[in-house]
Symmetry: C2
Subunit: 350 residues, 2 copies
């Protein structure tokens, strides 16, 4: 029996196409001879597409992407300050539009300090946790506005919208993760200041915790959480948090575990109504684009998350093991993007 | 000629009274024989006062405090989860109420890695920057609400309010700081997601930058800023940012420079219409309260900020030098809170 997965591939801008080429190389290698086959459709989206056509993401693009089983995305975003991009917000109009339209309510971001990888921390200890970041609410909803813009009387508001429905489903997912891991869950918020949204999160975590008596539950204000991420990251197992705090904490988490070049993520719709999307946490890094300098490891680890999401746990582990061995063997990496991809693919094939 | 400063002292809860006792000891020592005299009024405010009287901060308290020239605050907040405190939000009702009512639009938080102090970073480099955090706007305004609270249909909103007036005055202050330092200013925000508030901040920084051609201006998204704080903190000189991002970044900044026990802050009303307030960044730490275990250094460094604010630069430097020498001489500190205060006061007296 073999299953064919319809995969939408969005290489994007900057280093996106380079790292996605390696991710696809590894995906094809691990899929060969397995009972999973991938049929890929490439979508040309991002700053380059916008500059060529004026479109960021059309309804047709969205419908076509939504018809796939899963999505692999590189990175989107043009050169910062490019005057031709003023007015187009590629992040909001493309990346966030996909996350919101495809109801990616779980943004899953694992953090592991792999053997052989240097951390900026003197004593990182055992870093192995996962951030479950809410993906469809909070300050990210785009519910902002301004009056008297450009005058000394300008007022600009941003509304963070949080619902019991939206918080409960992501909190339930986080508890399920904790059950399968070290059974520890930390809610991160700022309940003492954001009393309404924080209160909602706190009450829902407390309620769901009652159904998981074996999971130890902890709460940290977001400011304190950043302290522990640098002084004692080993204390974390599953962190559940809102969209904005999750954005901030996962970059910090990536930094302490060897950098954004290794951080993978899944934008999940666990309900399965829409395709989930897998992407490295890093951006398009236009300054090193096209130079074969980017590390494709985060994109390749995102393929492992994709495989795991599809239930192909054994294939996912083969990719993760190949990455782990490749990282352990590194010493001041002078390899090109495709040399790293080749090396990992070769380990997968072994 | 001698000046008498009317100082409101709010020791607060937990370790607050212990660290404030040492801060006052150092203040009295450095003031003795100078042309500055301090007349202190103590205010009993915080969780203990609330439990005793039901009051958090009355209009009379506020009016009395506002009549002073400056404020020294320890820490406020009861034991987390104390059921008797449910319903009283001491942080919002006291600390934030003071900051907002006294128009503390600059929350000044210097970060220095003192000689002899261990950082959790393997190679911290030269850490010496100051965060200018906006103190009266943003997501901290308390403009939130909820409907259908406690039901599966709950919606909880929080509004971040940002004004040209509020942003411009703090940005101007930050540029003035940069002029007196290494002439580098970094705006931290999340302009790609919070487009309205971020756009306002960005435009105002760009406009004020034109008046300071000698200041190098940089922009970082808040997530990226956390990365640089652990991989290259030496790159920062002055960071200007909003209320919430400033809260997060300054705890992280404290962590990389030896911990929250050393982090001082000034809540400033540079216009001088209201008294400014000086406080350690740390909280009330009820778990170690009354045990003489707290490090009073952050409170003592807050006294240095107070002196600098009063124009007593030489006295401020004496306190800072005493702290620097004390820290350099430490090796696994087993001293009590008051022993540390005594030691620093003795160095100040030398
Ligand atoms: C590019 C940006 C909109 C995005 C976010 O803020 O979510 C990125 O930082 C991330 O973490 O995936
Ligand atoms: C106690 C809390 C309200 C406060 C804040 O968030 O500003 C604290 O974290 C700080 O940084 O001074």
């Amino acid at each position: 029996m073999s299953t064919t997965v319809q995969l939408a591939v969005i290489p994007g801008d900057g280093i996106g196409p380079e790292v996605i080429a390696e991710a696809v190389k590894v995906l094809d290698t691990v899929a060969a001879g397995s009972d999973l086959a991938f049929e890929k459709t490439y979508f040309s989206l991002g700053a380059d597409r916008y500059l060529a056509t004026g479109d960021v993401l059309t309804d047709d693009d969205l419908a076509a992407i939504a018809g796939h089983d899963a999505i692999l995305l590189g990175a989107v975003g043009g050169r910062p300050g490019d005057p031709r991009l003023t007015g187009a917000n590629i992040e909001r109009g493309l990346l966030l539009k996909l996350r919101f339209s495809l109801d990616h309510y779980v943004n899953l971001r694992p953090t592991t300090l792999f053997p052989g990888i240097a951390s900026p921390l003197a004593n990182p200890g055992d870093v192995d946790f996962v951030v479950v970041r809410e993906g469809t609410e909070g300050p990210y909803v785009g519910n902002g506005g301004a009056i008297r813009q450009g005058t000394p009387h300008e007022i600009a508001n941003e509304v963070s919208v949080n619902t019991a429905y939206g918080v409960e489903r992501v909190v339930r997912y986080a508890f399920e993760q904790a059950e399968q891991r070290r059974k520890k869950l930390t809610l991160v918020h700022k309940t003492n200041v954001l009393t309404f949204s924080g209160g909602l999160w706190k009450r829902i975590v407390d309620a769901v915790a009652a159904e998981h008596p074996d999971v130890a539950v902890d709460y940290l204000h977001v400011d304190a959480a950043t302290i522990f991420l640098v002084t004692d990251p080993a204390r974390f197992d599953v962190i559940v948090t809102d969209n904005l705090f999750g954005d901030i904490l996962t970059d910090l988490a990536a930094a302490i575990s060897g950098g954004i070049g290794l951080a993978a993520s899944g934008n999940l719709n666990p309900a399965g109504e829409f395709p989930s999307m897998f992407e490295p946490v890093h951006g398009s890094a236009p300054d090193i684009a096209g130079q074969q300098k980017a590390d494709p490891t985060a994109a390749i680890l995102s393929v492992a998350l994709l495989l795991r999401h599809l239930g192909a746990r054994e294939l996912a582990e083969r990719v993760e093991q190949a990455v782990t061995s490749d990282l352990a063997a590194r010493s001041g990496d002078a390899r090109t993007t495709s040399e790293i991809g080749d090396a990992i693919a070769a380990r997968v094939a072994q």
